[in-house]
Amino acid sequence: MARLVDSYDYEIKVISLDSTESLNIEDARQIYDSGLFRYTPPKIILSEQKGSTEIKEEEELSVKQRARNVSNEIGNMLEDVNVLLGIFNKRSKGITFQFDPEDLKNESLANAEDTLFGTMTGKITYAMYQKVLVLEDKIDKWLSHTAISNNGNLYGAR
């Protein structure tokens, strides 16, 4: 029976791997000279000469494709905008603009409320504001339509 004790060797290697370290010119040159990395430019392939009609058709297709791509991108963007507007509208439902209809400085505003909504409460809700926007848009379109019908003259042919 014998009691034995031994210490078995262990070697720990600690290295420094700092990704933010930049290469100096000499390091870069050595890496390049080692042949590990080489840039080979792509070969230029000369295609067969095409007729002018063929080229035109291809160009048109390409233009159409690009237009389609742009249209898709705009569609995607509008979808996102609509989502944001939906959120904004929900949050804005509680917004109310109040004014004193008896105050003379608010006279035009009070008259506008009366004309558009038939009330003089001194309270414009967000829903009312949106209706006004829609109405304004309709008026603009009507005015443009009228002007076009009358050769650009908004007030009728002279």
Binding site: M1, Y8, D9, Y10, V14, D18
Partner: protein, 153 residues
Amino acid sequence: MLDIYRYDEDNNAYLIVSKNGLQTAPIQTTHNGTTGETTVQQLYLKSDSSLYWYEDITLQPIPESAVKVGASAYPEAYISFKILVQGTMPTDDQWKNTASGAITDFYDIGSLHLGDTNLHTFWIQINIPAGTPPGTLTHVSIRLSRTENPVVP
């Protein structure tokens, strides 16, 4: 003799770890000192003779107390070195519940009438904290204590 073995992937062979500071065939691990890194390694105990059996086997990471690196004094600045004896790779929780530098008991290898020359697994975990300066640390080792007994036919 009962020794510590490691698996050499390059040669697909189990090799005896050198001992008592010879450093000819040490256990080796490499760590990123910038970010800190923990590695786990499987090691083995093996007797080269069926004429002996072993009892009261213990394994201990050396140095016993944690080794401080750099000038920092906070606890994370210390290398931790743990040993666990089991067949499968220990879980994170098992490592957490194991103290760095703790003496670990190993079961008997062989018995009074039977030698055992099989490989018996144990695991080591070394944690190098972030900010450890690059270099080679050789003042770490595993102390293997055992009582060697002759097998009685």
